[in-house]
Symmetry: C2
Subunit: 341 residues, 2 copies
Amino acid sequence: MPFKNDLILRAARGEQVERTPVWLMRQAGRVLPEYRAVRSKMGGFKELVETPEFACEVTIQPVDILNVDAAIIFSDILVIPEAMGLPYQMIETKGPWFEKTITNSDDIKQLKIATADDLHYVMDAIKLTKKGLNNRVPLIGFAGAPWTIFAYMIEGSGSKTFSKAKKFLYTQPLLSHQLLQKITDSTINYLKGQIRAGADMLQLFDSWAGVLSPKQYTEFALKYIAQICDSITEVPITVFAKDAHYVRKEMGALNCNSIGLDWTMDIKESRELIGNNKTLQGNMDPCLLYADFNTIRSETKKMLLQFGPQRHIANLGHGLYPDLEKDKVKCFVETIQEFRF
Amino acid sequence: MPFKNDLILRAARGEQVERTPVWLMRQAGRVLPEYRAVRSKMGGFKELVETPEFACEVTIQPVDILNVDAAIIFSDILVIPEAMGLPYQMIETKGPWFEKTITNSDDIKQLKIATADDLHYVMDAIKLTKKGLNNRVPLIGFAGAPWTIFAYMIEGSGSKTFSKAKKFLYTQPLLSHQLLQKITDSTINYLKGQIRAGADMLQLFDSWAGVLSPKQYTEFALKYIAQICDSITEVPITVFAKDAHYVRKEMGALNCNSIGLDWTMDIKESRELIGNNKTLQGNMDPCLLYADFNTIRSETKKMLLQFGPQRHIANLGHGLYPDLEKDKVKCFVETIQEFRF
């Protein structure tokens, strides 16, 4: 059965679209009162991630409520370190925390290469969601990019500088490559599993790209992203490396369909650096959605004009913040969907 | 009496230098055991800032110990909000915290425009330090750039996104400009006082430049930095806007002497964007100093070659991290001072 709305897949592949498709990072989340209602019935974030029925429910919510052009499976990038042998807790207001971190060669040897079976709850959530969506819109699967996963595995939590993780790159380059390869192999298994379960499109999130130098990013991050992109041939894949302004040109050479931009990246300059063979995704500042409705509409239209009518998937340059108003978010989505070039 | 070593002033003014000068952001700080010894005798960070004898002592330490080509007065960018009427606490491991924040027009009206007298302890520290340095090397004064100060005054603490402060920009643009102007006027008074007290050079730190969009940065940040640069005619001034990669071209038009770069900014590209009329400062990744001595030496030399022999002040792209080893820091400084093109 064909999709009722396949705009995002066509935009990703560079095919002609009648209008620009839109979805939002963290669209399944606290910005929706309906999400908060489901979550209040559950024990916490991780329980939600690990319970396919609820993950399915909150994944479909933004399609019903915000009318976005794609769903993205409700999950977390840190399921991969957990499946490899490093369990984590999600501490309210503090973020993720790992009891055990990677400090030496033995730690790396003890990690397993995760398989899709190790993450059966994600596969089950995808299968359920595909049924629930009934081909209304495509379903996006995702994973963290290897450097970001590595950063958490060494650091053990969030950090402003990720200096422990970067210290490991500088002092243990060979071990770093071993660990990054294990993460990459696990991620490929995981993403292939997501495709088999029904994901129509994939995204890699390199959330901590911005702390590396261009040289380190090329050596320790881009190399593994390239391996993943080369392995994914079945569905379109988007790479979003937040704050990696310095590597946009190299991103253009990746074997992927789309590149995500954040709001610090000039659209015209990014297009020149990345070239015409990629779809660009983004890149509104999420804080624009605190402004009044008229400002949201006019700034959103300006963004659309800068990207142009083709090879663009509209989105924010980061995830939705929990305290944004649902009606403001809807205004952003509607402005994009009503706009004609 | 002339300076024994005025390399940094000549480099800032674009005059010929025999070798590249070097200093380090946060060189007066926890990376030095001698600093930790002084600090352990004191009540805390703020007491140190407010006690001229101790501020002087720790300001001179890195000149003695690391042999850097400039001292920078030990202080904090948040003395300005405090002098304007918003006191803060520095909470160990958590960072700054303001009891009262700015939420409306009345809050802004109640703020005073700070004068140099309000910050007499900084002026006293500068005078003492100038005596203690005895013209061995120049003394750098500094202040936070208006946007960064504004961000703390609205947010009340550090933040990953500064979304409250950005929300204020989007929802209260007129009030934002009022507050930014008051901060700017205070900062000019403060920097003029630092010059009268003896500062030989100044630096503006825009630590949270990276969270704004290019449009917001131009409207709410660069405009006020330009006012400050235009007011400072007595001594060289450096502007360091961390992560503001997107505004390097516009920075080149500022009425300042030097522009600071962080390690994500490509040196050659930055030079092209900024032009040849500015001295560039930076830009080594502080985490390089976790590497072995040979790596530090070779990477530092590569950096020097990329900047070239003139119009460069060597530094890191961020402050020293407290857990770096003193000998590694010395190796970075020595490599620069021994290098000849």
